[in-house]
């Protein structure tokens, strides 16, 4: 009576019918998946097979434990429930499929504890689908953009799958109940509700319901399987891989070509991404994995400022381009160029590499490396934006983007800081270009110098021998120039004999820490100050008034995880009242970008800095403290643009400490 395999369907025995359908479904999926694999195999290399333990750790944290999902409370909780439901129901799905082939797999009892778990899992997933559909259709969260039929269709299919299972089991239990004691179904589960609803039905009707539900399950299951590689639902399969192979090292930029040493770069015929296959396989896998949830775009400052960039749109249109370029059927149907066709140049240059998108993405999709690779392609083709030509040329000629003379590089110090030239100097203060030459930022350099002086120990600067760290030269795609700057600085730093490096510029900090090799350990000034405050080496007098807020620089916070040290320093100032902006720590909002971003004016409706200053005002702050010369310059500019002079001031952490220090 329960048999699926022995029943006949349109004169065909179940066993044969389902064997055929299973095999057909699997064959279709295999064929489609193979086509999806094709571009990955033709893409650039990417070394992601190292450090398996670290990768497994990521898998446990971000895949199994869904670590980032609760950052968006409701959607996150829904997703965790659905994900947990899928995991719990995986073995049930196989059992149900097997029932079509042999009666041995039919449950006769209640299924024990797993039975109860899966009854509720089916029900919870079903309810989540309903909630998600209502959410998308009625409440329409802004980050999903225009309502689209695709996710609704997907959610409905999963709901049908769950309902089919409920009807399948409910009808079976109802049949059993008419003959004697039935199996136990978890109360108020879908199956239980179906059993109650069908209790009075005729045996033949129940039998038809049972077989019908099985057929519905069969078709929906395999349709879903084969439909998944066509859209956002593909992440069900790909997320496991994209999280396992996710980038492990924050703050770094991928090499021009994996497996090609810097010294061999001259032999590489083309730099960066110019055509689809120039992306690495992992980056194409990222396109597949993007679930179009829009969290990245909602956090992206470029998007908020109205620049023509949305990380989400970048992923989705790239994915669609891959699909058109490598279609499942027929010849490639899209030959449009990547940049200038799929992406606009302004889009590619709009990114400040702040990393907000990457910090938010639950699937660990990478953006910065892709943007940098696209820029490398543009630079290689001579298409660096016009406003960057002069700063790049000046970086080549003079080692700074402003075209200022090398011999004036130490002028900011006004002779108060010794030049480190081999031996005797323990700490090297790496100022970098903006602190060396910008009138406003120079005061940060002098403040740090006074603080370092207070801390004792001898320190010095490279002076005329220092060149730009090249941090943003690299991130703007000019790898060759970056390598020249890096090699020059590395030699000068090593010749200085210093045993450690301190810098007040998070961009230089990130470069020295992640992009440079064979240089002494580097520390950001805020770390050194925080340590001195903790040990009592620095004591500060009370501040009079004002409400302070701390703005996390991207390359100190998100890219290097230094959130607490600067806050601890602020909290150590007596009488200082500190408030947090809504967007702080790893959700900090970029001020507009550092390095070459100062020279590039993207099309935008609003300056990022202006948006940021308003956020500070909204938090009730009157003083914005930051720990980056670029942030300071951008924010002070933005205060003027926003017409908020008098209501808001900006100060660097080092300047503030220098002002408040008591001897």
């Amino acid at each position: 009576m329960d048999s699926i395999a022995e029943a006949t369907y349109w004169l065909i025995r179940g066993r044969e019918l389902f064997l055929f359908l299973h095999l057909l479904g699997l064959a279709c999926f295999a064929a489609i998946a193979a086509r999806r694999l094709a571009p990955l195999l033709r893409a650039e290399r990417d070394f992601r097979f190292d450090r398996p333990l670290a990768r497994l750790g990521k898998l446990v944290q971000f895949w199994l434990a869904q670590w980032r999902h609760p950052r968006y409370r409701l959607a996150g909780v829904l997703h965790i429930l659905i994900f947990a439901g899928f995991l719990l129901l995986a073995s049930r799905a196989f059992t149900v499929l097997a029932m079509g082939l042999s009666d041995r797999f039919i449950d006769t009892g209640s299924g024990g504890f797993y039975g109860i778990v899966r009854h509720y899992a089916t029900t919870v997933v079903f309810l989540c689908m309903g909630t998600a559909i209502v959410r998308r259709l009625v409440f329409r969260p802004a980050r999903y953009g225009r309502p689209s039929a695709d996710p609704i269709f997907l959610l409905s299919l999963i709901a049908i799958l769950m309902a089919a299972d409920g009807v399948f089991e409910g009808s079976q239990a109802a049949m059993h109940a008419q003959a004697g004691p039935a199996e136990f179904l978890a109360p108020w589960s879908l199956a239980w509700i179906c059993q109650s609803a069908f209790a009075g039905a005729a045996l033949a009707t129940l039998r038809n319901l049972h077989l019908g539900a099985y057929l519905a399950h069969e078709f929906t299951f395999f349709f879903l399987l084969c439909y998944r590689p066509f859209g956002i639902q593909f992440h069900v399969e790909t997320s496991l891989f994209s999280i396992y192979f996710a980038k492990l090292d924050r703050g770094t930029v991928k090499p021009v070509r994996w497996g090609v040493a810097d010294q061999q770069l001259d032999t590489v015929p083309s730099f960066g991404v110019k055509k689809l296959e120039d992306f690495t396989w992992k980056h194409i896998l990222d396109f597949y994995s993007c679930a179009d949830c829009g969290r990245c775009a909602e956090q992206c400052p470029a998007n908020a400022a109205g620049r023509p960039l949305s990380p989400r749109a970048l992923s989705i249109k790239s994915r669609d381009y891959v699909f058109r370029h490598y279609p499942v059927w027929g010849p490639s149907s899209d030959g449009t160029p990547l940049v200038g066709g799929l992406y606009s140049e302004d889009e590619i240059w709009s990114c400040t590499t702040c990393g907000a998108c990457e910090a938010e993405c639950p699937l660990l999709v990478e953006y910065i490396d892709k943007i940098v690779d696209l820029r490398r392609g543009l630079v290689d083709d001579g298409k660096a934006p016009q406003p960057l030509h002069k700063p790049l040329k000046a970086l080549e000629g003079r080692g700074n983007p402003f075209g200022k003379l090398e011999k004036k590089r130490a002028d900011w110090a006004q002779g108060a800081v010794p030049i480190a030239n081999g031996g005797g100097v323990e700490t090297l203060f790496f100022a970098d270009s903006i602190t060396s030459y910008d009138d406003r930022a120079q005061s940060i350099g002098r403040a740090v110098a006074r603080i370092l002086g207070r801390l004792g120990g001898n320190f010095g600067i490279l002076g005329a021998k220092e060149r730009d760290s090249g941090h943003d030269v690299r991130r703007f795609g000019e790898e060759t120039l970056f390598l020249a700057l890096r090699d020059h600085n590395t030699e000068a730093i090593r010749a200085s004999g210093a045993r450690r490096i301190v810098t007040a510029d998070p961009h230089a900090f990130n470069a020295l820490k992640h992009d440079y090799k064979d240089v002494p350990p580097v520390e950001h000034a805020s770390q050194a100050i925080a340590r001195a405050v903790r040990t009592g080496q620095i004591r500060m007098k009370p501040v009079e008034n004002g409400v302070y807020t701390y703005h996390d620089p991207c390359y100190l916070g998100r890219h290097n995880g230094i959130y607490q040290d600067p806050r601890d320093v602020l909290d150590a100032i007596p009488g200082l009242r500190r408030v947090e902006m809504k967007r702080s720590r790893d959700r900090s909002f970029c001020c507009g970008g550092g390095g070459l971003a100062l020279f590039y004016e993207a099309q935008e409706e609003q300056r990022m800095g202006v948006l940021r200053v308003r956020m500070a005002a909204e938090a009730g702050a009157s003083v914005m403290v930051t720990a980056c010369p670029f942030c300071l310059v951008n924010i002070e500019d933005a205060i003027k643009v926003a017409g908020m002079e008098g209501q808001m001031t900006a100060i660097d952490l080092a300047e503030l400490v220098d002002r408040q220090m008591v001897s």
Binding site: D266, G397, E479
Partner: protein, 263 residues
């Protein structure tokens, strides 16, 4: 179409603090950073775009010393097929006419359909292009802001004229054009591009190769000599506009219109 672009190496005005030497005869040249004369980049870019449309190749020539090879390499990294360095101790101290005579001799030793120069050298007088055309008896147009290749041996060129108006001319090939900046967006050349052409040989031609005697170029032939070099004293023309932001903006607009800064 075979195109020749004449380029020059000049102190980069964006990256130097130009100061006079003590004698007042020249600028202080220690510690200077040199680069390609900016308008010449536009001429090379335009030449490359024409060659891409019509076929043919672009040659860049400069008159100078060994150190001037760097500007040829930079323009070759942009895409010029060939660089030619004209260098001879006998050319030291040439005036504009001397340089034009040297270039004339070179042009006559080869075959070029079109000769482009930048609108002027940043350290020069915008004279060589016109003189070169006259010596070659070629037609000449200055301040060219657009070039269209017509059928046969003709170009349609746009020229910028005072006040921002533009005129369109037809000009016969071969001709000499001086290219105004802004005609295009010159492509970016980085260190990588220069390194890729680092081993391409650059022929060097001297006075003997071009059949030039001391009466054609060099110090003895120069009829224009620099007698002084000075920085003009700063004027007292600064005027601070007063009032609200709107008033200041209005006054500024009026001033710009009155002084011809806006049309």
């Amino acid at each position: 179409m075979e195109i020749l672009v004449c380029a020059k190496r000049v102190p980069d005005t964006a990256e130097n603090e130009i100061q006079l030497n003590r004698a007042g005869t020249d600028i202080e040249r220690d510690d200077l950073v040199y680069s390609v004369n900016e308008p010449d980049n536009y001429a090379v870019e335009e030449a490359l775009q024409i060659a891409a449309r019509t076929g043919g190749k672009v040659t860049v020539v400069t008159v100078g010393g060994d150190e001037d090879e760097e500007v040829l390499r930079r323009e070759m990294a942009m895409g010029a097929a060939r660089g030619v360095l004209i260098s001879d101790d006998a050319f030291q101290g040439s005036d504009g006419r001397g340089i034009a005579a040297i270039l004339k001799a070179y042009v006559q030793s080869e075959h070029y359909d079109l000769i482009l120069t930048g609108v002027q050298a940043e350290d020069g007088c915008a004279q060589v292009g016109g003189m070169l055309a006259a010596m070659l008896d070629y037609p000449f147009a200055s301040l060219v802001t657009s070039i269209e290749v017509l059928d046969g041996r003709k170009l349609k060129i746009g020229r910028e004229i005072e006040g921002g108006s533009k005129e369109i001319n037809a000009i016969d090939l071969p001709c000499v054009l001086s290219i105004q900046t802004g005609i295009n967006e010159p492509r970016y050349v980085g260190m990588r591009g220069i390194r890729q052409v680092a081993s391409v040989p650059i022929p060097t031609l001297g006075a003997a190769d071009l059949g030039l005697g001391p009466d054609a170029a060099g110090e003895a032939a120069a009829k224009v000599k620099r007698v002084d070099y000075f920085v003009p004293p700063a004027g007292k023309g600064a005027e601070m506009l007063q009032g609200s932001r709107e008033e200041i903006m209005e006054k500024l607009m009026d001033l710009l219109k009155a002084k011809g800064g806006l049309n």
